[in-house]
């Protein structure tokens, strides 16, 4: 199948709750079937997150978690143990861009969580959060 180019390198952005339950998995430029694969990619990255954390990290940014054949997965953990993931196939992506993506993704998540209608640790179905993440991903062109 032809691999369509992604929106500037961001192939997938995900939020996983503290119980390691996926709350939000957003893919860009991939088919339905491929999208499912990213759930798996994010899930396997969780193990690496655990390993990195054992060392007592002070930084929220966890760095490159695992390079698979086609993608690189970067991780970020919030102080309340929510995990943010960025999957990219862009080999030239700069670390400064990754860090700034996570900062902004984190900020969007923090604002979203203040919605009183959102039950903590449940699936994120908000259209406006989704729009913001899409816009965020688009800005890394």
């Amino acid at each position: 199948h032809p691999h369509r180019p992604t929106l500037m390198g961001v192939t997938c952005a995900a939020v996983v709750g503290k119980g390691n339950n996926p709350l939000y998995v957003r893919t860009f430029g991939v088919s339905e079937d491929e999208a499912l694969r990213f759930h798996f990619v994010v899930h396997t990255s969780l193990d690496v997150v655990e390993e990195r954390r054992v060392g007592g990290l002070s930084d929220l940014y966890l760095g490159l978690l695992c390079p698979t054949d086609d993608y690189k997965v970067y991780g970020y953990i919030t102080n309340t143990n929510a995990k943010l993931f960025l999957v990219t196939d862009d080999i030239d992506i700069k670390e400064a861009d990754i860090k700034s993506f996570f900062r902004r993704f984190h900020a969007a998540f923090v604002d979203f969580v203040c919605n009183p209608f959102y039950s903590m640790d449940t699936a994120i179905t908000s259209a406006s959060f989704d729009r913001e993440v899409v816009q965020l991903a688009r800005s890394y062109q």
Binding site: D111, C114, N115, P116, F117, S128
Partner: protein, 184 residues
């Protein structure tokens, strides 16, 4: 600033500056959690709307004295003046921004108060099925309470709501009666 002879509609310093400030997010989160609790406890969205209004009414009755104490305002000469002072100076003092008035009825017995900011509703996204909820209805109650303390009996309702996709918030105020014992 009590030395001013004439009423100064500008909002630099003055009453707003004298108020103690709290973090606006604390207000948003507190109010939001409170609305969620009412949604759990009460049977219908309409009953939540009523309860929010009732609570706002009790708040409004009380804050009028605070407003007059801190703002240095004297009595207003008529209903139009009262509405303007409430929207500009009252809102500024308590909410941090000025609201505005428009659409006066011919007989001056109704008007619309409108504003774009609303700290009660920051971060809120109404889910499906909540279109009849007036999330910020406490404000309607506050306005009703404030005007009641000034012997003006009104009914208020939201006619435009940013949470429902409108570009600004609009509350329609219908004056039912102006009681004659208004202080001079």
């Amino acid at each position: 600033d009590f030395s001013q002879g004439k009423r100064d509609m500008s909002s630099k310093g003055g009453a707003y500056a004298k108020m103690e400030k709290i973090n606006a997010e604390l207000l948003s989160v507190t109010y939001g959690t409170f609305v969620m609790q009412l949604l759990k406890d009460l049977p219908t969205l309409e009953s939540v709307n009523s309860k929010l209004e009732e609570i706002g009414y009790n708040m409004g009755l009380r804050i009028v004295d605070e407003f007059f104490a801190k703002s240095g305002e004297g009595g207003c000469k008529d209903v139009e003046d009262t509405a303007e002072v409430m929207a500009k100076r009252g809102f500024k003092m308590f909410m941090g921004f000025e609201a505005d008035i428009k659409d006066w009825a011919e007989n001056k017995m109704a008007f619309t108060i409108f504003f774009t900011l609303n700290p009660f509703a920051d971060f809120v996204e109404l889910p499906e099925g909540y279109s009849t909820l007036h999330y910020s209805n406490v404000l309607c109650g506050i306005i009703r309470g404030v005007l009641k303390a000034l012997n003006i009996l009104v009914k208020c309702k939201f006619i435009r709501d940013v949470l429902k996709g409108d570009s600004q918030y609009e509350i329609r105020v219908d004056i039912e009666e102006i009681l004659q014992d208004k202080y001079a």
